[in-house]
Amino acid sequence: MEYSQQFCELFFQALRIRLVEERIIELYPSDSIQSPVHLSIGQEAVAVGACRDLRETDLVFCTYRSHAYYLAKGGSLAEMFAELYGKVTGCARGKAGSMHLAAPEVGLMGASAVVASTIPHAVGAALAAKRLGNDQVVVGVFGDGATEEGVYHESLNFAVLHRLPVVFLCENNGLAVHSSQKARQGYDLLEHARSYGLSVCHIAEGYDFVKVADTMSDIIQRVRLTREPVFVEIRTYRYKEHVGPGEDFMCGYRQQEEWLAWKRQDPLEQYGDLAETIRPAIMKEIEEAVHFAMSSPFPSVEELLRDVV
């Protein structure tokens, strides 16, 4: 079967994230990664689609579920593994673990473990972009649950009020830990954002990285030109438990059928032949990164009080 080049590129990026996280799952029982991991498996297409047409100078702020954005934005894989291993060569010198990845050199401006807490940072960065008169686009990534926090509402208002070049990107996996969206929210996400005066966009096929990338491409271009905020909701599905390497369909809060239905649409599941041809190259890179992490030194005593003030 023939695949277009743009399909192949996105497929590669998404598969790379999945294989990295599957490797994390394999390594986890060895206890060398002593950090809670919030895996993005199932949600990779959103990150790779959203980041494809972002420039290195465009900024992304994200959540503890940060591996996919870190990699999609171009963060170093070796430094990510080193960080997970608690090594001084990690992207945060062993002080972040999985939940606070950052790669400012490529515009990944940090992940926070406090829900919704980086949404206003994206707005503030957009305020700076406006004041400084550059053409940066800033993306604030958050989950559906984060929209329940007051700071989300405060951020939407401010971005509209001051016409700031920010994309509010809601990765809607329908869950906050084990609570379903409808058990928590009495509003419709899109209607709600629209009521603030934001232009809004909805993508139901969060598994379709081409669709996500093309739609996001238009949005990014528009924001770059108009300097107006946009709200985007992308439906997606988390395959693994909220935090940790396992599956949790036996726990009863969601149905395995949903997962199976989602997987039937997931290109990474559907195009096994393509995956197999790409896989060796990615696995090689992953093993090199793991080796780098394993052979790197732990932080020394001086690291403990370094960078406090």
């Binding site: 950090s35 809670p36 608690g86 062993g94 002080k95 972040a96 673990g97 606070h100 732990f298």
Partner: protein, 378 residues
Amino acid sequence: MSCNAAVTSLLNGQAASGLRAEAGTEVMSYRDALHWTMRDALQRHYSVLIMGQGVDDHKGIFGSTTGLAQEFGADRVMDMPLAEEGMTGVAIGAALNGLYPIQTHIRADFSLLAMNQIINLAAKYKYMFGGRFDVPMLIRMIVGRSWGQGAQHSQSLQSLFAHIPGLRVVMPSSSQSILDTYPAVIDRYRGPVISFEHRLMYDLQFYVAPLSPGQEIDPFGSRLVRPGEEVTIVATSIMVLEAMRAAEHLARVADIQCEVIDLHCVSSPDWDLVMHSVEKTGRLVVADTSWREYGVCAEVCRVVAERNPGCLKAPVVTLGMQPAPCPTAKCLEDLFYPDLRQLVGVLATLVTGNEIHGLPLPDTQSMADVYKRFKGPF
């Protein structure tokens, strides 16, 4: 000391709250004690409402609320939106109008989003309106620790709240402490109470003794948990267990007798108990779960300095977290928290008056390894 050995020594009844627990025969984990008090509260008080993110799910706040939504109904054990400030306000409103809300924060760190409601409203409602209102509610906050919880999932914020008049802040250090504190608070106290539960203790088993009929325990006092002559250790939360282990070690290797006080209610400790002890021993070590600066350590020193600084035979020693946010790499995390070896070391130095005290120290081992073989945070 292996994990099991640590737990067994706790099981010997020594480390359970209060001397009373030595008489205890029943064994109960910290988690089960929490679950028992939550269920008991729902059963005995129609007004009790448990509210928090995930209180009704299969993990039930680390097992402390599991099954209660099924048993008592989703309108009494309510899952909450991710809206800490708003939901704290809702809890205050419910408390003002006849309910007794028990709110949970699966990490104390998330309560920082609710500071406005807790400090500007809950703490002041009674005073600001001339005593015309009560805000009876319990806010349970869990202090996470280890396994790379890091800067935003591990903070022990007791001093932030204890600083504020109007709030009662407790730090249960055993199953008995929970059984003594929660029912009494829920039954009898009409103001906001904040409780810091330590995640590392959830799996620990303790001996507990039921209250004898008519017996009432002050839920806000401090507890003398081990009598001794040579040095006073004032400790909070899991540091009480560390203090007990240190005291046992020194008694064994050098017949040094440490007196251990569980401060328990850090917002209004029993200062007479503390002063009486320090006046007796003349030596004081304060071991807290948080930073020393402007915290419990500093506060204990303030009171000793104000009341009777002359009783000290040597300067006070304080132990707490290093003055940094919590790092994730285990090697740094182990340096970040004080360990048993360090505690024994300062006690030995203090009592012998000599840094080269020659006493054997216990092996260095991270507290997380001792208390729990912890795999993943939830």
